[in-house]
């Protein structure tokens, strides 16, 4: 072992086999959990969206077919990503970031409404033949870029200005256009993902607290704008305004609660008939809870637990620090969506529109999630070149 290696010893276990290949049950378990979530998601998506589609004068399988196409594309992406050495993504860290930033700019520039129309008061989608939600890709881009830079700047984390400030500046370029769409929860999510990677990379807790103080007024400014404020305020006010956010939480709890232990049965749910807002998307967990009961909720939770545990196991066995950070970032990316989506459904946090990974309708999110799982699998497979091409030379360079 070289001294350079010793510098970053805590991250790479000496006992790891030289090949870096992490064989074992983890990839299979991850694939199985992903496949089950995807299949279960599609089935429930049909149940949730058939009525909605009909009310919109669309065929009942409209959303199902679109999501399934997204799923197929996503699976192709997953297969590809699992075969591409994950280190390839590191080389793409900056270009990916730039591409996403460009796409996000298209959403906020005033003369691009032709390809970025305003839908429901926000410009979140690019319509280029297929509809793309750039902010979903921003999530993966920030994970890769932050992991990349964290590896690079690891030694300077002790300094706020030299170590962390560059991160905030670059994140800001991504987050500001997302805030302007406006899409508060995605902007919040993108920032949070970056912070999580920094956290795993070993940033100081004190810095996080400082940053939190800095973000408070910004958050407040955003919150005080429009409907989001009302959503937050009516949170906890269950009997409040009939059509306000309290109503949504109440409807969600009615769905979950009436599901009981075993649910009302697949397709038998009632709350999707206009009671749950976006039953195929923001509140699909509640609908699943209604139709499948606690049984279904527990199964779903278990599947995400499998993803979390397997994801962190993969991270621990990652051949290098970048792989480790990226694996933890991707796992947290899936976990945080699952946790926050379920928390909204259970009325634990204010209503925000976050998808349930692999289940909610939304092809951009599905594609990004499946590609992310593919990257996880790639990390699990390990890359013999990983250490050679990245860690060792980098470590050496950093010492110079």
């Amino acid at each position: 072992m070289s001294t350079a290696h010793a510098d970053i010893a805590p991250t790479v276990r000496p006992r790891l086999p030289e090949t870096g290949l992490a064989k074992g049950w983890e990839p299979a378990a991850l694939l199985a959990a992903t496949a089950i979530l995807l299949g279960f998601g599609l089935v429930n998506l049909y149940s949730a969206s058939a009525f909605l589609a009909q009310r919109q004068a669309l065929p009942d399988h409209f959303y199902l077919v679109r999501q399934a196409i997204g799923g197929v594309v996503g699976l192709v992406g997953l297969a590809a990503a699992s075969r591409i050495p994950y280190t390839w993504w590191r080389s793409l860290a900056w270009p990916l970031l730039a591409a996403v930033w460009g796409a996000l700019l298209l959403l906020v520039l005033p003369w691009t409404t032709g390809i970025a129309p305003e839908i429901n008061g926000a410009r979140r989608w690019l319509t280029l033949g297929v509809t793309i939600q750039p902010s979903e890709f921003a999530k993966l881009a920030i994970l890769i870029w932050t992991a990349h830079l964290a590896v690079k700047k690891r030694d300077e984390f002790q300094s706020l200005t030299r170590g962390l400030a560059p991160f905030f500046v670059v994140w800001g370029f991504l987050i500001v256009p997302i805030l302007l769409q406006p899409d508060l929860s995605t902007a919040f999510m993108v920032g949070l993902l970056g912070l999580l990677v920094l956290f795993t990379a070993g940033a100081r807790i004190a810095h996080f607290l400082f940053m939190g103080l800095f973000l408070l007024p910004v958050a407040w400014m955003q919150l005080s704008r429009g409907f989001r404020m009302e959503r937050l305020r009516s949170f906890g006010d269950m009997e409040g305004t009939a059509l306000g956010a309290g109503y949504q939480v109440k409807q969600s709890l009615i769905a979950l609660g009436s599901g009981g232990a075993t649910g009302v049965g697949f397709g038998e749910g009632r709350q999707k008939f206009g009671f749950l807002p976006e039953p195929h998307n923001d509140f699909i967990f509640s609908m699943i809870g209604e139709e499948w009961g606690f049984m279904g909720v527990a199964g779903l939770t278990l599947l995400y637990l499998v993803v979390v545990v397997v994801g962190f196991r993969i991270a621990r066995r990652a051949p290098d620090l970048f792989g480790q950070l990226l694996a933890m970032g991707i796992t947290s990316f899936i976990a945080i969506h699952a946790v926050l989506h379920m928390s909204v459904g259970l009325g634990v946090i204010p209503t925000t529109g976050l998808p349930l990974p692999l289940v909610s309708y939304g092809r951009s999110n599905l594609l990004v999630t499946l590609v992310s799982v593919g990257i996880l699998l790639s990390i699990a497979r390990g890359d013999p070149r990983a250490r050679r091409e990245t860690d060792l030379p980098r470590a050496r360079v950093s010492r110079v």
Binding site: M328, M342, L346
Partner: protein
Amino acid sequence: MSLRDLGRTLRSPAFRGRILMAGWVLALGGLLFRAGEVQLKEGAVWRAEAERQHQAQGTLPAARGGILDREGTPLAMSHEVFRVGIAPHELLDRDAAAALLVEALGLAPADARRAVSSDRRWVQLPQRYPPRAREALARARGIYVERELSRSYPHGELGRGILGVVIDDAGTGGIEQAYEDHLRGMPGSQIVARDSEGRPIPGETWMIQAPRAGGDIVLTLDRDLQEIAQEALLEAIAETGARGGDLLVTDPRTGEILAMVSIQDGSSNHLGGVNTPYEPGSTLKPFTVAGLLELGLASMADSVDTEEGRWTVGRRTISDVSRVGKVSLSHALRVSSNVGIAKVAGAYAPLEQFEVLRDFGFGVPTGLPLPGEASGTLRHPRNWSGQSAVSLSIGYEIAVTPLQMAMAYGALANGGLLMEPRLVREVRAPDGRVLERQEPRVVRRAISTSTSEEVNRALVEAVQDGTGTRASLGTFQVAGKSGTARATGLDGRYESGAYFASFVGFFPAENPQLVVFVKLDRPQGTYYGGVTAAPVTRATMEAVLAARHPPLDRQALASIARRQEQELRTRVELEAMERALEEGGEPGHAGAPSGSTAPQSSEQVGAPGLGGAGTALALAGDISRPQGGVPALFASWEARSGAAALDPRIPALPGSEVAVPEVRGLPARDVIRRLHGLGLHVSWEGQGAAASTLPGAGARVHPGDTIRVLGKHAAPLPRLAPGGGAPAGAFSGSSAAAPEASRSAAGPPRVAGGQRR
């Protein structure tokens, strides 16, 4: 391990990763715990909440039972209608939807377009549509059809007062209200799954209980008679300028109500016949006399001195208009002498008088199953004033309902039995089974058969040559009595110049089959019951005889007619001979009714005189001098109607000639309607469609004249001679009429002229 090492370890990705993973595991575990709380612990609460908002307990309307007439003709029925709602944003093709609405519902294109292109989520069309609309719209997406039951009355306003209406699914008034529980049936219930906008989710409906249809009610009413009665009454109201009136046709043998119309201020949506008592006046006199005979206090032959038409009893003077001097009780009744009747009634003990009237059903509700029946007023003797006995004897200080009066006359007609009025014949189950058949019920025997026969004879005479000649039919003897009483206003005081004119008759006089009650409220001009109400009775009876399926015993009528024909022929021959001897045989007057001038005059006579002041004040607890008679009025009446009619040179009603319409080939009902519409009366001869009229089509006649309509098939019955100036009757038609008969009429074009005006 140094502190530095510890810090490094705490910041190591491996350690941070463990913390993060633990965080996610804890978060997911916590959420699972929270889900367990919501789903397992609070599950029942949320489920109840869910049911509350998902399921609407819908009621399934039960088909309301029908109301049928005695022949089974529906008078009120329920049928399915559909309401149409549109969810515009669910429509795939709005133009096609609009076209469908135009085609299937007959919507105006502009309205259809507005309905399908509305921004609202739900557009409910206001109209109700027939079942075929549902078939046409069943497959259309975004268009929803909801079933409803609607009540309809096939004959419009006919009998509406009796039938009542259905308002907000509840019977209101009449039979609809009285038999609400039976007609309504039992609405079913269903649970309908609803979306957040309250619309039913297709295919998500659970029937809890099927609706049970209501059963039918079969009335004793006869649809045709009801229409005849309504038209006759409307015509009379138009002719006399009355404010309203009542007309009842009942069967005295069973107490069945065959027709009942009450019109007030142009509306027939009334039950005045059962809920509005009035002071009957002279029509009550037969009961006074019947009681006297029954109790042996007087006999018809007893003579009474009518004292030159004025009799002062206590501080009050009763007057007759005409002076008939010393007459028999029978004659006094026939000419409706107030003085005569009141004097003889003095034989009563107060309680006897009270009980006689009570036995005829006055002062007691008849028990008819209609809401709001009035009992009328018959005071007990302990509440009488000094004048009460006298007032009561001639029909004052008593309030009766038209139905009570019809039932009491029924008792005179059927040999003394007071029948319970029947309006409902059968109560049927929804499947048509008869649940309850209401049989005729005798309330009590009011008088003996022999007494009733004696009274009836006087009533026949009253029609033949008393105050009710205008009710006489050529065909059958009619018994009856007219009445004219001062009308009371809302405050209970008599209105000056306002009268109730009434006539109650039954026919045939022998074994009567119909009682016809007619009352006119405040007729203008001539107001005497014998002049205004009696012709309505006759018109009604004629129309009944002309009706296609009158609820009459034709065979009994035929045998009576045959016998009457013999009697009349003998009488007419005798009269003609007498007159020929007396006057040198002027044929034009040979048949003029000897009694149609003088006795008629006696009718009106008393009623207004006494009613005018006596009772009004008696009721008010005061006594004042009665008004004098009404000779001026009477004279004008006689000049206009009686005398004029007798003289063929004087037109009955100047300047109101009408042409006889062409009715050849039309069915009887249409002919009668058309002729009635022109104010003409119809005498139907023979059977089948109309073959010709007498006078023929185009001839100028006067309203009120009777037109003889000859049916295609001659009736087998011999023609009756017109007794008392009556027209040829319903069963005539052959040329068997005696030559005297044709001579007695005032000439063919004016067959009935003498009768009416």
